[in-house]
Amino acid sequence: MIGSQAGCGSALRRTRGPARRPLSAQVRGFWFLAPLFGFIGLLILIPVLGTLLDSLFRDIIYLPARFVLLANFQALAADPAFWGAVRFSLLFVLVSVPLQLLLGLGMALVLNEPMPLRGLVRACMLVPWAIPAAVTGRVFQLVYNYSYGAANYLLDRLQLSAEPVNWLGTSVSSFVAVVAADTWQTTPFAAILLLAGLAAIPEDLYAQARVDQAGLLRRFFSITLPLLKPVLIVALLFRTIQALRVFDIIFVLTGGGPGGATEPLSMLAYRHFAAGDFGYGSAASVVLFAIALGLSLVYVRVGRFQEGP
């Protein structure tokens, strides 16, 4: 009955089914995977390898490329802007990722409880995630406006600051501004991941703990946290890798300023690409790539470890 739904009613070809040869099945399997490999190979792997190769060339637009081995990397090492970008990228990861995961965990714990309109609140959490990061950058540019932005308006209204803050004007405040904007954009996503993890924890465990008179905190630290650990690790690595390659929101919000204070590695590379210096930009993105690759390998290892046999 079910089979005939597909409308392939030829019993003559039945021979293929149960007794197919494993080798031909494998070959067929690879045909199904061929377009996937083709796209990823041609448009991701080869470009990455091309960038790797290009980092060894002095390759400036309209000029003939010249092999220079590691000269681009030597130039990077002598470039204060490069070290500033490395510093910013790492600091950004170190500050924003834990902040976002903690906030996200708080949201997930709240949203995991029964309450009126829970579905609606959950749906609203998808809003920041769904908005393009470039648009978020624009909105926060206005939020941080010195004379009429919402941030200074709130500070003034809540009497937290006597003077308006020049958010995007100093290196410390612009760092805070960038982290806050990124936190708005990505925390709800982390919360949704953690919420899925929380939902998978059996309710019996909590019921049993209540019978044993275990308090709220005790239940959190002995049941919730240990059982949530695998999901927390996944979210941590995902967020780390995303934070490492941050570009859109900062490009729009600060453009890397003031004076390069909020320029991540990806923007340093882009800036050189856009200026036509492909070799130098490639070298910078190879450094970023190496850091991200290291973390990807960690992720793959954790994924495998989690899966078990």
Binding site: V48, Y148, R245
Partner: protein
């Protein structure tokens, strides 16, 4: 009893804070788009509603906003369609056919999705220049298909794994080819999952910024995130009202889509990231 009350209060306060946090900037964007004076929060100003910003964004020829929006819709739509189809072929092979090292293939594909996009753009720029495709739809669609494939593959694998094998067997007995089994049995049965995958791939492609920034030069192919990022207004000063109106028109369809299909999207997102 006391603990329970405290907990209830904490939860409601937390939910209210979450709501405020998530919607605050969004509402601010909306309000600025509707305000005659975008400086309405400044000292001595007030909020007077108007639709003038929407009017000028939607109907002023020189802004090219509608063209950017059209570009984004077509590019993201086609990318997501192709991505889901190719990922469905791959997911079928990985869940149904004897692929040696199928698990490793999945993990390698996931690892590839972790590559920073900036390490692709110089090569893509050269490739598309050499092909003469700079500032055209294919220049963005092809990389977007590749870029969304890991996500699509992971989500579809988790959905396909749940479709009972008996359905395949029935198809095989009936003499269907593998491709027909995928198209006529698996895809319809897994339709909600396939749709969730399409939506996610669409949103990822729609929101992409860096590749579009590098490979487009004007309204012929420029997408809406780039258009909004580079929007400078017509009269020199930053036209906040127009920018926020453009941002609103861009995000409202996505947000409405997300709110309607939130269940599918959350399921797809968490399946892609948290293995169940």
């Amino acid at each position: 009893m006391n603990e329970r009350r405290l907990k209830k209060i904490l939860i409601l306060a937390g939910a209210a804070a979450t709501l405020l946090f998530c919607l605050g900037p969004f509402v601010y964007m909306l309000a600025t788009a509707l305000a005659t004076d975008p400086e309405f929060l400044g000292p001595g100003r007030e909020f007077v509603p108007t639709l003038a910003h929407f009017h000028s964004v939607l109907f002023s020829e020189s802004v090219h906003f509608l063209r950017y929006l059209l570009n984004s819709m077509v590019i993201a739509g086609l990318s997501a369609l192709v991505s889901v189809f190719i990922a469905a072929l791959g997911a079928y092979a990985l869940t149904r056919l004897a692929i040696p090292g199928g698990r490793s293939i999945l993990l390698i594909v996931l690892g590839i999705s972790m590559f920073p996009p900036v390490s692709l753009i110089s090569y893509l720029f050269k490739l598309m220049s050499a092909l003469g495709w700079m500032n055209t739809y294919p220049a963005l669609i092809l990389p977007y298909v590749a870029w969304t494939l890991p996500l699509s593959l992971w989500i579809l694998v988790s959905y396909f794994a749940q479709v009972p094998r008996d359905l395949d067997r029935a198809g095989l007995v009936d003499g269907c080819s593998r491709l027909k089994i995928l198209l006529r049995i698996i895809l319809p049965v897994a339709a909600p999952g396939v749709f969730a995958t399409f939506l996610l791939a669409f949103i990822y492609a729609f929101n992409e910024f860096l590749i579009a920034l590098m490979l487009t030069t004007d309204q012929a192919a420029r997408t809406i995130p780039v258009g909004i990022a580079l929007f400078e207004g017509l009269h020199g000063q930053v036209a906040w009202g127009e920018i926020m109106a453009a941002a609103t028109v861009t995000t409202i369809p996505v947000v409405v889509l997300v709110l309607i299909f939130q269940h599918h999207i959350i399921q797809g997102l968490t399946r892609g990231a948290v293995k169940t």
